[in-house]
Symmetry: C2
Subunit: 280 residues, 2 copies
């Protein structure tokens, strides 16, 4: 059920992403480097959340297709820039060389800049102007999270703020933009924000656990990087067992929030269960 | 007259930019690094063009204030990323250390990403949705121009395409967004595009001439970098004299185009004259 639904949303996203990337055809290396990272087997969780939120609020997934693509382009740009030597200096991403390893640093910086710009071009084609507000806010908060991450050793309270910006912001943007594309009520949007806040924490904690306990071959990226860099994560503060308890608590909060949005929340509930036990 | 008008537009822009940058207050280093480059004495040509186009089409400058700020933030982000070691590797910008020299590479990448994101957040507050279409298209074309510049030796035909994207695109975005904020007619927007195409070439050619003949102390940045890098520019293809002839021709085209938009084009005509003879 979940995997079928994810595949369906993913296909809708990829079809439109392909159309949008044609905009870059007069700069072939830019187009190629953007496509290299955008079409590299990502799970498309943010577009799926966006379209699922749209459906849960009574819209069709297609109503949120442009917003979904914008989110995926923003997520992809952030990965490209995060992997740069001056940032996390990661050579691998999704099982293949990271963008700057394949195209060089200058092209990787531009691939990121291009995707971020193209994301907002996609939103200029979307008639639901609230989607722009949600997504631009999320994009900016994500950069704030990165900045906090780069510049601070971090205690617990900062960690939560940082993770909320780094991971939560784009999940919030996804569900609020999806709701906007269905002209959802303020109550529905607020419940979706509560969902995204909890789901973002769940996602980040399980990500931290995977970096500590996961297998590189399954993840398609290096593991143990957090510890190597001395980064403060949920696992370094609470240890893996208490982190897993936190994950369960956030999963419960996420389920409760989504119940208040609408019926047919099966996709969300299955996604929460999947994320709680994910291996990649 | 021109300098008074530029000062007026600049003050409107800086006031609103200050308000927008408050969004970054929870990530102090990001906020500081964005402000460092945004408030570093730029001439604010793009915001001025945006507000002047709005006025020429019958609006008030304030109607285009958010779009003007978005343009300046996008222009500033592009300078920050262009100066990075992996790109042009420039240590000086506007008479002081470039962003990555002051804050380090990671923070400079994020300052650029943050400004680009915040630009679109500003546009989400602007009720004229056409402004988003114009500016997001311009932002993406600018990246295409950078990519062509980074990746190609370049012949004459490519040079014009490249310069059109690198410099022309954001000027087009500025005047079309300004016109959109005045609900201008299609004819006015088209004439403004013709103005921007010509003005962009004028601006780029005089920029190339300054890099060859200007003084670093007046420019606030290094000179002779194009030649040093073996870059193809108007001056390397045509030499300074023929380049100056081209500049005059584009200035005339720009004047003719702006005449077709509306009366009171004094600002535009003075700006064209100023650019034709600029020293910085």
């Amino acid at each position: 059920m979940l995997s079928e639904r994810l595949t369906y949303y993913s296909e809708l996203t990829e079809k439109k992403l392909g159309e949008l990337l044609v905009e870059g055809e007069r700069a072939p290396i830019l187009q190629e480097s953007m496509g290299y990272s955008v079409f590299s087997g990502g799970k498309r969780i943010r577009p799926a959340l966006c379209m699922a939120a749209c459906e849960l609020c009574g819209g069709a997934p297609q109503d949120a297709q442009l917003a979904a693509c914008a989110l995926e382009m923003i997520h992809t740009y952030s990965l490209i820039h995060d992997d740069l030597p001056a940032m996390d200096n990661d050579d691998m991403r999704r099982g293949k060389p990271s963008n700057h390893k394949a195209f060089g640093e200058a092209n990787a910086i531009l691939a990121g800049d291009g995707l971020l710009s193209l994301a907002f071009y996609a939103l200029s084609l979307c008639p639901h102007t609230d989607a722009l507000a949600a997504i631009s806010k999320g994009a900016f908060e994500m950069v704030m999270g990165q900045s906090l991450d780069v510049n601070s050793g971090g205690d617990e309270s900062l960690l939560r703020q940082l993770q909320d910006y780094k991971t939560g912001a784009l999940f919030r943007a996804a569900v609020v933009a999806g709701a906007a594309c269905a002209s959802a009520s303020a109550e529905q949007r607020e419940a979706l924000v509560r969902f995204a806040n909890a789901y973002g924490m769940l996602f980040q904690i399980t990500d931290d656990i995977l970096d500590c306990e996961g297998e590189a071959s399954v993840l398609g990226k290096s593991v143990g990087k957090d510890a190597e860099r001395g980064k403060t994560t949920f696992v370094t503060i609470y240890g893996p067992e208490r982190s897993k308890e936190y994950a369960k608590t956030y999963a419960r909060d996420a389920r409760e929030a989504v119940l208040q949005v609408g019926e047919n929340a099966a996709f969300f509930n299955e996604l929460i269960s999947y994320t709680l036990t994910r291996k990649s």
